[in-house]
């Protein structure tokens, strides 16, 4: 059984760190669906949200453990099964003229966190920020108008946990895994 996993990691803000992290997934042939990295609450560390597809259940423990072994990685958490909030932003360039621009704005009104950020005689650029499902339903509605260009940021996520992890904390899947992991 394979699945999509959301992994959150705190890493050193240094050249080469992204390479080490990406290398870990490449080696196993896991496709990174999205990887978002930016400053964290600590100046020397960046936070990464990594979304990986097709991770066999039996490899879950190893993926997070091997990430944790990377010296530049300070914390690792597989948050897929945790209570967390996740958002992504998309910029969408849609073909739009005088006749149908109004329709597109109407569609936008159905979504929270969506707006027009740029207009030209034949196109509009829309922005939406929200959970992945919301972004995808907007895209589905816009499809008939002709999506010219699309840029998605990928997921950024934080757990709702009130306890902030200590430096070096590891929260992978449970050490004794699900029975399906057994031989």
């Amino acid at each position: 059984m394979t699945m999509r996993r959301v992994i959150s990691a705190l890493v050193h803000d240094r050249p080469g760190v992204l390479n080490r992290v990406a290398s870990m997934f490449r080696r196993r042939g896991f496709n990174i669906a999205s990887l978002t990295v930016g400053h964290s609450e600590k100046p020397e560390f960046s936070r990464m949200t990594i979304v990986v597809d097709n991770v066999p259940e039996s490899a879950l423990w190893q993926v997070t453990s091997q990430l944790w072994n990377v010296v530049d990685v300070v914390e690792v958490m597989d948050i897929t099964d945790e209570d967390y909030v996740a958002r992504e932003t998309a910029l969408i360039k849609v073909r739009a003229n005088q006749e149908n621009r109004g329709h597109i704005v109407e569609i936008l009104d159905l979504f929270r966190g969506a707006e027009v950020v740029s207009v030209s005689p034949s196109t509009v650029i829309l922005e939406i920020t929200g959970p992945t499902e919301q972004v995808e339903s907007l895209l589905a509605l816009l499809e008939p108008y002709g999506i010219l260009e699309l840029m998605r940021t990928g997921l950024v996520a934080l757990t709702k946990d009130e306890e902030v992890p200590q430096d070096g904390e590891f929260r992978g899947p449970a050490l004794v895994g699900a029975p399906s992991q057994r031989r």
Binding site: V11, G16, N19, Q62, S65, N69, G168, G172, G177, R183
Partner: protein, 573 residues
């Protein structure tokens, strides 16, 4: 605090000195020249000029495994650094502590395809535990301190430090070598196990009826041999060493079983097949041990002690994982493990041992590799340091060179690097100058790194090379014999006249063509106080048995057909 004004190259030497490094292996070149200029001023650091960087990496590895200290190798940028890579990969797979120092093109030239430029930190990510590109001389002491710390801590491994030439030349204030590692929040070895995990493991051990221990290199790394023996004796559990765990448990102990796995002994494999609990101490369940996962120890629960959390559940699901170093984990387990007698299980183990012995088969005239190894074992009383190459001779050495000395059996297990045996034997010998070091080689592997014979001659390292010469890639031939209908493809490795080669390098060369000359040749080699090459012309049609074909299970195990024909009890162990 004011310090001395020194060059980057001197920072490196000061750091090595502060780490107590007295032996380094390397090859100079353009980018690393400033370091080589300064090393002359540090007579306490003996530099061994290998003839190839691969030799430097393997020599540092052999040194590190024999002594338990961190091995150091040095190379220049580009080709020099990449030549280290196979050695780093070998050390990485087998958890050997190594610090590799490489030169890099100057900072302004990086990324401009400069002469002898390679992105070495990029190339070596998959074969190092960590690596550094140092961009300022003042960073060198901290980086070196961290490199040694990471290399030797937890599951040991290689760390590479890449130093641009102008950083090695940069003059700055040297304020001393740091006493502690202060800023590595991402490196946190778990040395002490979680009591809850220990309790769960102890429970499984106490309730098991037919347990067996698999002892790996983690026991040697943590120096937990005494604790392992205590556990085995207290709970009366037989012990199987992994290839890299040879020496972690006394080979003459009544609870000692031989190796298991693809070329392990039949009885050890059958014991594992019948066991109801397998306690893995400090190994990672290599595929050469487990074969087909679904059929591996089918009736057993698994207790897995390992310091590397990523080794847990990697290949075999662990019912009771214990993350921690082998010594602390065993110490925590011992008081919770019940004293047992297990008469029934141990007598079953003895029956299997008797019914499926490991045999030394002989041929007329030409000696067999097994026989030569057996005689080396007997004539050295099992006390020599053994370094092997990779292939048939390696498996026979592992089967027959039974020892009770920790760290004395040195071989490339995980990566299976042919050519390891020549430079690694030199490194082991230089680290243990008072020990007798035998390098058991195949003729093919020996030819991969024989340029280091010149280094061995220069350093007067009295290594005894025993070449098991069958003029072939023996193991490849064995696979082609068994799995490719004897379609022999590219396996003739006929080399030079090894006796003349020995003489060309100023060494003693001996050729043995008849089984009756084996003993005298071994004794002559032992008595000679310099390096020796003994060219044993061995039987080609000798196959390594037992054999469990790759990815299969004990049910498909093939025992030596010759043994099967002998009446029970007539074949000596």
């Amino acid at each position: 605090m004011s310090g001395r004004m020194l060059a980057g190259g001197e920072f490196v030497c000061e750091s090595l000195q502060a780490e107590g490094v007295d032996l380094v292996f390397g090859v100079p070149g353009g980018a690393i020249l400033p370091l080589y200029d300064h090393i002359l001023k540090y007579p306490s650091i003996h530099h061994v000029l290998t003839r190839h960087e691969q030799g430097a990496a393997h020599a540092a590895d052999g040194y590190a495994r024999a002594t338990g200290k961190v091995g150091v190798c040095i190379a220049t940028s580009g080709p020099g650094a990449i030549n280290l890579a196979v050695g780093l990969g070998t050390s990485f797979m087998d958890s050997t502590p190594i610090v590799a120092i490489t030169g890099q093109v100057t900072r302004p030239a990086i990324g401009k395809d400069a002469f002898q430029e390679t992105d070495v930190t990029g190339v070596t990510i998959p074969v190092t535990k960590h690596n550094y590109l140092v961009l300022s001389a003042t960073d060198i002491p901290r980086v070196m301190k961290e490199a040694f710390h990471i290399a030797r801590s937890a599951r040991p491994g290689p760390v590479l430090v890449d130093l641009p030439r102008d950083v090695l030349q940069e003059i700055d204030e040297f304020t001393g070598y740091p006493e502690t590692v202060d800023d590595l929040p991402g490196f946190r070895p778990i040395t002490h196990p979680d009591p809850i995990q220990v309790e769960a493991a102890a429970e499984l051990i106490n309730s098991a009826k037919r347990p067996v221990i698999l002892a790996g290199r983690g026991v040697l790394v943590a120096q937990a041999e005494k604790e392992l023996q205590e556990l085995a004796e207290k709970a009366q559990i037989p012990v199987i060493p992994t290839l890299l765990g040879i020496g972690s448990f006394p080979g003459n102990h009544y609870l000692y079983l031989s190796l298991m796995g693809m070329h392990g002994s039949a009885f050890a494999n059958l014991v594992v097949d019948e066991c109801d609990l397998l306690v893995n101490v400090g190994s990672r369940f290599d595929d050469r041990i487990i074969g087909r996962v679904a059929d591996f120890a089918p009736n057993a629960k698994i207790v897995h002690l390992n310091i590397d959390r990523s080794a847990i559940h990697q290949n075999v699901f662990a019912d009771a994982p214990v993350i921690g170093d082998a010594k602390n984990s065993l110490k925590a387990l011992l008081p919770q493990v019940d004293k047992q007698t297990r008469t029934e299980w141990l007598s079953r183990v003895d029956d299997l041992r008797r019914e499926h012995p490991l045999v030394v088969r002989d041929f007329d005239g030409k000696p067999s590799t097994q026989y030569v190894i057996k005689r080396i074992h007997e004539l050295t009383n099992g006390k020599a340091f053994i370094v092997t190459g990779v292939g048939q001779h390696q498996m026979w050495a592992a089967q027959h060179y039974v020892t009770d000395r920790p760290n004395s059996f040195i071989t490339s297990g995980g990566l299976g690097t042919m050519g390891y045996e020549v430079p690694a034997a030199m490194g082991a010998q230089m680290g243990m100058p008072d020990e007798q070091v035998w390098s058991i080689c195949g003729d093919a592997g020996f030819q991969m790194t024989l340029q280091e014979l010149a280094t061995i001659r220069d350093e007067k390292a009295p290594v005894k090379f025993a070449i098991m010469n069958n003029f072939h890639h023996g193991m490849v031939r064995q696979w082609q014999t068994l799995f490719y209908d004897k379609r022999y493809s590219q396996i003739d490795t006929t080399g030079p006249d090894f006796v003349k080669l020995a003489e060309a390098y100023g060494m003693l060369g001996i050729r043995v063509e008849d089984v009756k000359d084996v003993d005298s040749a071994i004794k002559r080699a032992q008595d000679h106080d310099g390096p020796v090459i003994v060219d044993f012309l061995v039987e080609i049609d000798e196959l390594v048995y037992p054999m469990i074909p790759a990815g299969q299970s004990v049910n498909e195990m093939v025992e030596d057909p010759w043994t099967q024909q002998q009446p029970l009890g007539t074949v000596a162990r």
